[in-house]
C-alpha cells in the first residue's frame, strides 16, 4: 500500500497542527478532570476525557510517538472501564487519573520539543494504572473487547467497506492504523480497491484514492467495530454489515474476499448501513463548527478595520465641514456608515474574544494540589468563567491568577486547627469570579482566610527596608505594601510560595495589560483582590484633552474626575512642585505642557483644568491640561515601529481629522516629572521663589 509522503514542510505543518490540537484537548481534559474531582462530573465528562486521550493517541500514532501512544493506551483502558461502570471512581482512581493526565501532558510536551522521555518516565503512574486495571481485569485495551465478550454472541462476521474521501490524509488520519486496530479485534482479511487510483501524472499525494473491503471475524459487538472509525466516519463512506454468524456464510465470505475483482464489484456502500453509523457523529460535528485561524490573520483584520474606522471618521468630519447642514440625506448616510463600521469593529474584536474558562479551568487543579501540599481543606468556587476577553489578555492573565490563587491557599487560608479555633468551618473557601464592567473586566480573587495582618505587614516592611521605621501609614497603604518588590510575608519559605517574588510581579503583569490590582482585607475575615483589566489591548477608551495646540489621550479608566480649581486650592511646595487640595485630600499636580514642552498652553491650573488620575498603586495625581475635548474610543497604534520609545507616551492614535494624537503613559508621568524636577532644579541657578501663595 502506498503510504502518503509529504514534504518536510507539510509534515512540520501537520505536526504543528497536531500539537495545537493537543493543547486544546489537554485543556479540555484538565477541565473535565476537575469536574470529576469535584464530583460534579458525569458520564459525559468521562466520555470527553476518553475522547481527548483517544484523539491525542490517534495523532501521536500518526507521527510515531510510540511512548505517548503506549501510555495513552493504558490511560484509555482505565477510562473505558470507568465509562462502562466496570471500575469505580474512588479517591485512588481519581488520583491515578490526575497523575496520568500529568504524565500524559508531560509526554506531549516532550514530543513537542522533539525529545524522547527517559525509559522510566511515568513508570510509577503507568504501574498504578495497570494495578487499577488488574484489580478487576487485564490491563490491555483489548480488555474492552474481552469484557464485553460475555454479552456478545460467540463469533460474528462483519463486512466492512471503507471508502475514504479524498481529504482523509489532510485531516491527519491514516487508514493503516484503523486497519491495524480492526486486526486487533479478531481475524481480518483486507482487500484493497485501486480503481480510483489515477495515473501517476494526475496523482496528488495529499489525496486518498484507495478503498478497502474487509472481512472481520471477531467476538465483538457492531458498536465496537464502528468505534474504530469514530474519527473518520464523517470523512468516508463506511458500511459495516454483519454478514452471518454461521460457518456456512463464513466460507462464502472467505471465498469472496481474496478476489480483487469481486471487491471491485462492491464499492457501492449501502446507504442504510451508513446511516446507522452516522448517527453517532451528530454530537461531534457540532463541535466542528469552529475553525482554526492564524492569529496574525485576525490581527491584520483588526488593523484594517481600525483603519476603516479612522477613515470613516475623517470622511464624516470633512463632509460636515464642507457641506450645509441641510444635506440630511448625506448626513444620514454617514450616520449609517458610522453605525456599520462600529458594528464591524465590534464583530472583528469579538473574533479575538475568548471565554476566561481556559484560564479558570486550571485553577481547581491548582487549588487541589496546593491544599494537598499544605494540608489545608480548601474549596474553590468559580463564577463567570464564560466572560469573554481578548485572547492576548487571557494569555497574560494565566500567570498572575495562578500566583494569586496559590497565595490565597498558602497564605490566605489558615490551617484547619486555626480555622476551627477561630470558629470558622474547617474548609476554607476561595472564590474566583469574573464579570464585565464597561470596557473592562473585573476579576475577584477572594478568600475567607485570616486577612492581612497590618501590624505584621508593617513590621516586615520596615525590617526589609521597604519603608522607613516610624513611618505613619494608613491601613490601606499598609495593605498596599504586599505589592512592594521583594516583599513576602510567609513565615517560612514554603515549597508553594513565599520566595519573595510575588504580588509585585502580579501587579507588574496586570499593569502591563493596562489594568490595576486592588486589595481589600479584613483581619480574621479574609482578603479580596480585584483586578481591573481592559477587554482588549487594541482599543482604548480615552479622554481627549487639549494642551496648547496639541491633543493628548488620557486612558479613561484611570480618570477619577476633572475640576477647575480655585486659586486658593493650589499652592507651590519647595522643590518646584505644586499641590492641589480637593475635599481635604492633597494631590500633586503635573503640568503636561511643562513636562512635554508644549508652548502656548495654559500654565495656571485655575485657568485650565485638573484631571484627577488614580495610579495603579492607588495614589492620586492631578494632571493640568487646557481643556477636555471629549471621550472617544481610540485604536492604539505603536509609535515604536518607526521610532524610539518616547518617555511618558505609551502609543499613538489617529483622530478623526487624520492627525496623530499621543496616548499618555500615566504611570510613567510621575517618574518623568521627578526627573524633570531634578533637572530643573539643577538648571535654575537662581532659586525659585519657594512659596507663591496669595
Amino acid at each position: 500500500m502506498p503510504t502518503p509522503t509529504f514534504g518536510s514542510d507539510e509534515l512540520a505543518q501537520f505536526r504543528k497542527t497536531f500539537f495545537e490540537e493537543c493543547t486544546e484537548l489537554l485543556a479540555d481534559l484538565e477541565e473535565r478532570l476537575g469536574a470529576l474531582a469535584a464530583f460534579s462530573g458525569d458520564i459525559e465528562s468521562l466520555n470527553a476525557i476518553f475522547r481527548a486521550v483517544h484523539s491525542v493517541k490517534a495523532g501521536a500514532g500518526a507521527f510515531g510517538y510510540s511512548v505517548l501512544v503506549g501510555f495513552a493506551h493504558r490511560f484509555e483502558a482505565l477510562l473505558d472501564r470507568l465509562r462502562d461502570g466496570k471500575a469505580e471512581l474512588d479517591e485512588r482512581t481519581l488520583a491515578a487519573l490526575v497523575a496520568a493526565a500529568d504524565v500524559f501532558s508531560a509526554l506531549v510536551d516532550l514530543a513537542r520539543q522533539g525529545e524522547s522521555p527517559a525509559d522510566d518516565f511515568g513508570a510509577d503512574v503507568a504501574e498504578e494504572l495497570a494495578a487499577l486495571l488488574d484489580g478487576d481485569g487485564p490491563a490491555r485495551p483489548a480488555a474492552r473487547a474481552a469484557a464485553e465478550a460475555p454479552e456478545a454472541p460467540a463469533e460474528r462476521i462483519y463486512r466492512i467497506v471503507f471508502r475514504p474521501n479524498a481529504e482523509l490524509f489532510r485531516h491527519a488520519n491514516e487508514p493503516l492504523y484503523l486497519i491495524r486496530e480492526l486486526k486487533a479485534l479478531g481475524t481480518l482479511t483486507v482487500d484493497c480497491d485501486l480503481t480510483r487510483l489515477p495515473s501517476f501524472e494526475a496523482l496528488n499525494v495529499d489525496d486518498a484514492y484507495l478503498s478497502w473491503t474487509m472481512t472481520l471475524r471477531a467476538e465483538c459487538r457492531p458498536a465496537t467495530v464502528a468505534e474504530v472509525f469514530e474519527f473518520v466516519d464523517d470523512e468516508c463512506e463506511l458500511t459495516i454489515e454483519e454478514i452471518a454468524a454461521t460457518p456456512a456464510v463464513q466460507a462464502e465470505a472467505a471465498a469472496v474476499t481474496p478476489a480483487a475483482p469481486a471487491a471491485r464489484a462492491t464499492p457501492t456502500p449501502a446507504p442504510a448501513a451508513a446511516a446507522r453509523t452516522s448517527g453517532a457523529t451528530a454530537g461531534k460535528s457540532a463541535a466542528m463548527s469552529s475553525i482554526r485561524v492564524d492569529l496574525a490573520r485576525v490581527d491584520r483584520l483588526v488593523n484594517m478595520v481600525g483603519e476603516l474606522v479612522i477613515a470613516q471618521a475623517m470622511l464624516a468630519q470633512q463632509f460636515v465641514e464642507s457641506h450645509d447642514r441641510d444635506d440630511s440625506a448625506g448626513l444620514q448616510g454617514f450616520e449609517h456608515l458610522a453605525g456599520l463600521t462600529r458594528e464591524l469593529q465590534e464583530c472583528v474584536m469579538a473574533i479575538r474574544m475568548q471565554p476566561l474558562k481556559s484560564v479558570f479551568s486550571r485553577m481547581p487543579r491548582l487549588v487541589r494540589d496546593v491544599s494537598h501540599k499544605t494540608g489545608k481543606e480548601v474549596r474553590l468556587e468559580m463564577a463567570g468563567e464564560q466572560t469573554e476577553v481578548d485572547k492576548t489578555v487571557i494569555e497574560e492573565l494565566a500567570d498572575p491568577l495562578t500566583h494569586m490563587i496559590r497565595n490565597a491557599v498558602d497564605h490566605g487560608i489558615e490551617d484547619t486547627a486555626a480555622r476551627l479555633a477561630a470558629g470558622k468551618p474547617a474548609e476554607g473557601v476561595i472564590r474566583l469570579s469574573a464579570q464585565h464592567a464597561g470596557s473592562n473586566i473585573l476579576i475577584h480573587v477572594e478568600d475567607d482566610g485570616a486577612g492581612l495582618d497590618r501590624d505584621r505587614l508593617l513590621a516586615k516592611a520596615i525590617e526589609k527596608g521597604i519603608v522607613p521605621a516610624g513611618v505613619k501609614l494608613s491601613g490601606e497603604e499598609i495593605d498596599e505594601l504586599i505589592f512592594a518588590p521583594g516583599f513576602s510575608t510567609a513565615a517560612a519559605v514554603t515549597d508553594v510560595s513565599g520566595r519573595g517574588v510575588g504580588m509585585d510581579v502580579v501587579r507588574r503583569n496586570i499593569m502591563a495589560l493596562g489594568g490595576r490590582v486592588q486589595v481589600v482585607s479584613t483581619l480574621g475575615r479574609g482578603t479580596r483582590f480585584t483586578l481591573v483589566i481592559p477587554l482588549t489591548l487594541a482599543v482604548l477608551d480615552g479622554m481627549v484633552v487639549a494642551v496648547g495646540w496639541e491633543k493628548y489621550i488620557l486612558p479613561l479608566t484611570s480618570i477619577v474626575e476633572s475640576f477647575r480649581p480655585d486659586r486658593g486650592q493650589i499652592r507651590s511646595v519647595p522643590g518646584g512642585g505644586e499641590v492641589a487640595s480637593i475635599r481635604g485630600e492633597f494631590v500633586r499636580l503635573i503640568h503636561l505642557a511643562r513636562l512635554f514642552g508644549v508652548h502656548e498652553a495654559v500654565d495656571d491650573p485655575s485657568q485650565g483644568l485638573v484631571v484627577l488620575i488614580e495610579l495603579a498603586n492607588g495614589s492620586k495625581l492631578g494632571i493640568v491640561v487646557d481643556e477636555l475635548i471629549g471621550q472617544q474610543q481610540v485604536v492604539i497604534k505603536s509609535l515604536q515601529d518607526n521610532h524610539d520609545p518616547v518617555p511618558g507616551i505609551s502609543g499613538a492614535t489617529i483622530l478623526g481629522n487624520g492627525r496623530v494624537a499621543l496616548i499618555v503613559d500615566i504611570e510613567e508621568l510621575t517618574r518623568l516629572n521627578d526627573r524633570s524636577d531634578r533637572a530643573a532644579r539643577r538648571a535654575d541657578a537662581p532659586p525659585r521663589p519657594l512659596l507663591v501663595n496669595a
Binding site: 488593523n303 481600525g306 483603519e307 479612522i310 496639541e550 513636562l595 512635554f596 514642552g597 508644549v598 497604534k637 505603536s638 509609535l639 515601529d641 518607526n642 521610532h643 524610539d644 520609545p645 518616547v646 518617555p647 511618558g648 507616551i649 499613538a652 489617529i654 487624520g658 492627525r659 496623530v660 494624537a661 499621543l662
Partner: protein
C-alpha cells in the same frame, strides 16, 4: 517591496563596481544639493502639520499619519546644524525606509533623479564643517555643480535619547 539596498555603502567601493550605475534622488536643503539612494525612497509628499513628540532633539519634528502608519519626521536642515526649517505647504517630505523603519525627511524641494556611474562617486575630502562627516557618503559632480551623497543609516542611527543607553 524589496528591501532597499544599504545606502551607506554608496560610493565607498567605487573602483570595484566601476561599470555599475546607480540612481539617486537629489533634493535641495538651503542652497545645497544632496542626494540619497533611490531604493530607500518610498514616496514623496507635501508638508503637513505634525504632532510634536515631547522631549526630542530639535530636528525631530514629530509624527505624521501616513495612511495609518505613524511616521516620524526629521528636519534635514536642522540635522545639519543650519537651524530649523520654517515649513510651508511647498516644502517636501521624502518618506524613506531605513533598517526596517519608515521615516520622513523634510527638505526644501526635490530636484532630480540622478543616474550615476559608480566610478564617478568621489569620497568627501576632510573639511572643517558644521556637519558631522560620518553621514556624508560621497560627492557627485553634476554638470558644473556638486551633489553630496548622504548615508541615511549614519544620519539616523544615533538620533533619539534611548539609542546610546541600549547600546551600552
Amino acid at each position: 517591496m524589496a528591501e532597499p539596498q544599504d545606502p551607506s555603502s554608496t560610493g565607498t567601493d567605487a573602483g570595484a563596481a566601476a561599470s555599475q550605475t546607480r540612481q539617486f534622488i537629489s533634493f535641495r536643503v538651503g542652497d545645497d544639493e544632496f542626494a540619497i539612494d533611490i531604493m530607500a525612497v518610498r514616496e514623496i509628499k507635501g508638508w503637513t502639520e505634525t504632532t510634536i513628540l515631547p522631549n526630542q532633539q530639535e530636528y525631530m519634528l514629530g509624527v505624521l499619519n501616513l495612511r495609518g502608519t505613524i511616521v516620524p519626521i526629521f528636519d534635514l536642515r536642522c540635522r545639519f546644524g543650519l537651524g530649523l526649517t520654517t515649513a510651508t505647504r511647498s516644502h517636501v517630505v521624502i518618506i524613506v525606509s531605513i533598517g526596517g523603519r519608515i521615516l520622513g525627511l523634510l527638505v526644501d524641494a526635490v530636484s532630480d533623479i540622478l543616474t550615476v556611474n559608480a566610478a564617478d562617486i568621489r569620497p568627501v575630502p576632510d573639511v572643517d564643517q558644521p556637519v558631522d562627516s560620518a553621514f556624508l557618503a560621497g560627492i557627485i559632480a553634476v554638470g558644473d555643480s556638486m551633489v553630496v551623497l548622504l548615508s541615511l543609516e549614519n544620519l539616523f542611527s544615533h538620533h533619539g535619547p534611548a539609542d546610546t543607553a541600549v547600546a551600552a
